[in-house]
């Protein structure tokens, strides 16, 4: 694959007078110029509120905005456009699910299965749902490599299992979970399966129809789109049955002070003026990425990830956290000599942007018996030079903390 770095204006920025090596992609990705320009173009030529407008601007905005559902439907291989709900991000999507499913479907002593390695966004909303309903949160363990313990997962399943909500890729360990198998097994007990694809949406092809999951969610800002926008995919039959999450304009059919009736999905779940420009930006981000085949993308990312792991492995006193059987473009590590925050500060001085901390996965940190890790995460626009710069900066950290 040819280098696409020049498509992303921010990547040619100097940081502290240094070349920028942006390796914080698991936190948020950068936007190609095509997306940035499209957003400006939108604001300068067709912004208006959507859906209820008869005038040209509103029609054009509505058209551009609704068109993105089709793009997302195709990108994740959903069956119908009205299975694509716009949210403000993965976090809202999971809150929507936890709230709505708790009302409809989860009862006392039911069980909700997650894993040790979940992001807070896929833990706390379920804790809240458990508190409200009296259901139990069941945590599937991971093994020493950071892989889901599939046997343990299977033995946790039972007719009490109402929800299985699992991340596709761990944002700390980079482990790719065997969601095909997990979904299939969970389905045997009639459980509702939810995939948190926040970390996978930019990195793996996703086919919700083939997976057979009931819901899948991701955030636009993790796939080169704007912040404040996310997608919740849900099977239409569920969406029809579920009560709304937020209420207000646009999600209703009729309102009177006595009685309100709700619109059909996806609108039922989209109260208020949506993030019109955010959605349109996401559409352009998908277009940008779709110019490359998955073969190209996977080849490039896999070889770069391999280079990252190999390079880090040669650094004495550095320990990579987890050794998953399938790894995505993420590596967490610690140094004997320095705390992750100190690493991050020194790396930053070298122009290397990584993340340090608990990565919104405190229970996993507890499990790993680590207060924090340093995390480098790749995107398609990264190259070997970025990784070399990382490794040099880590050596400097060791020098300071020798």
């Amino acid at each position: 694959m040819k280098s696409i770095k020049k498509d992303f204006p921010i990547l040619s920025k100097k940081v502290n007078g240094k070349r920028l090596s942006y390796l914080d992609n698991a936190a948020s990705t950068q936007k190609p110029k095509a997306v940035i320009d499209a957003l400006s173009h939108y604001e300068m030529n067709l912004h208006a509120n959507v859906h209820r407008g008869i005038h040209r601007l509103s029609q054009e905005a509505t058209y551009e905005y609704e068109k993105v559902r089709e793009k997302i439907k195709n990108y994740i291989h959903a069956e119908q456009v009205d299975e694509i709900i716009y949210t403000k991000g993965t976090t809202e999507s999971i809150n929507l699910l936890a709230t709505s499913l708790a009302k409809l479907y989860i009862h006392k002593n039911d069980e909700i299965v997650i894993s040790t390695a979940e992001h807070h966004a896929n833990i706390v909303p379920w804790q809240q749902a458990c508190q409200i309903t009296g259901a139990k949160l069941v945590v599937c363990p991971i093994d020493q490599n950071g892989d889901i313990e599939l046997d343990a997962f299977n033995s946790l399943l039972s007719p009490r299992t109402k929800i299985v909500s699992i991340s596709h890729i761990s944002n700390v360990l980079g482990s790719i979970n065997p969601i095909e198998t997990m979904i299939k097994n969970a389905k045997k007990y009639g459980a509702i399966t939810i995939i948190d694809a926040a970390q996978s949406i930019a990195h793996l092809p996703i086919d919700v129809t083939q997976l057979g999951c009931d819901f899948l969610t991701f955030s636009a800002h993790k796939i080169h789109g704007p912040t404040g926008t996310g997608i919740l995919y849900g099977k239409y039959a569920h969406l029809t049955a579920m009560p709304p999450f937020m209420t207000g304009g646009d999600m209703i059919k009729t309102v009177s002070f006595e009685k309100t009736t709700f619109n059909s999905p996806p609108y039922k779940f989209e109260a208020g003026t949506p993030n019109i420009s955010g959605v349109i930006g996401l559409g352009y981000a998908i277009d940008y990425l779709s110019q490359f085949s998955w073969d190209e993308k996977l080849n490039y990312e896999n070889s770069l990830t391999k280079y990252l792991i190999e390079s880090l492995s040669t650094i004495h006193g550095l320990r990579i956290i987890g050794n998953p059987s399938k790894r995505s473009a993420i590596a967490s590590f610690v140094l004997d000599a320095a705390h992750p925050h100190d690493i991050a500060t020194i790396l930053d001085e070298h122009g290397v942007a990584i993340r340090a901390g608990h990565h919104c996965a405190m229970p996993l940190m507890e499990h790993l018996k680590l207060p924090a890790t340093a995390r480098a995460s790749l995107s398609l626009y990264n190259d070997k030079e970025d990784i070399d710069q990382l490794c040099n900066a880590i050596e400097d950290t060791k020098r300071i903390f020798q």
């Binding site: 209820r52 008869i54 029609q59 209703i252 619109n263 059909s264």
Partner: protein, 148 residues
């Protein structure tokens, strides 16, 4: 303004001012409500069905010129048809409204007056509301139809 002239043809304006088959049908065997949640248009269809045949049909409600004229023309055209013919006609009108090519201009006849709507995506739902309600009335037991 040629689009506007296409949209508000005399026939449309006439049906809007003097809607045919307007009012409740006392001996209706079926009635159904249609709502357009985006704009709040509402209408109610009354059908007198004998076996498969629409012996009589009427409507009440409020709406824009396009939706009233369309409902009026719909009742005029549906009266006397059987269920299958109605569904066939619905499909043809729908194709015309969304601007598909392969439509039978002759079969549509005066209904073609509504074809100006296709230049106004935001108004297609006004024109299709009554047709949508007709289809719902004939094909399901639902009592409300919605364009959304």
């Amino acid at each position: 303004m040629s689009n506007l002239i296409e949209l508000y043809r005399d026939l449309i304006l006439d049906h809007n001012k003097n809607p045919r088959n307007f009012g409740e049908l006392q001996n209706a065997t079926k009635s159904i409500e249609g709502v357009n949640p985006l704009c709040g248009d509402k209408l109610k269809l009354f059908l007198l069905l004998e076996n498969d045949l629409i012996k009589d049909i009427s409507f009440i409600g409020t709406g824009c010129a396009i939706s009233v004229a369309s409902a009026s023309m719909m009742t005029e055209n549906a009266k006397g048809l059987d269920v299958n013919q109605c569904l066939e006609l619905y499909a043809m009108v729908h194709s015309m409204l969304i601007g598909k090519d392969e439509i039978d201009v002759e079969r549509l006849g005066k209904i073609m007056a509504l074809s100006g709507v296709k230049a106004y995506p935001s108004r297609v739902k006004c024109a299709s509301l009554s047709w949508h309600a007709l289809k719902q009335a004939l094909s399901t037991n639902q009592l409300t139809a919605s364009t959304e």
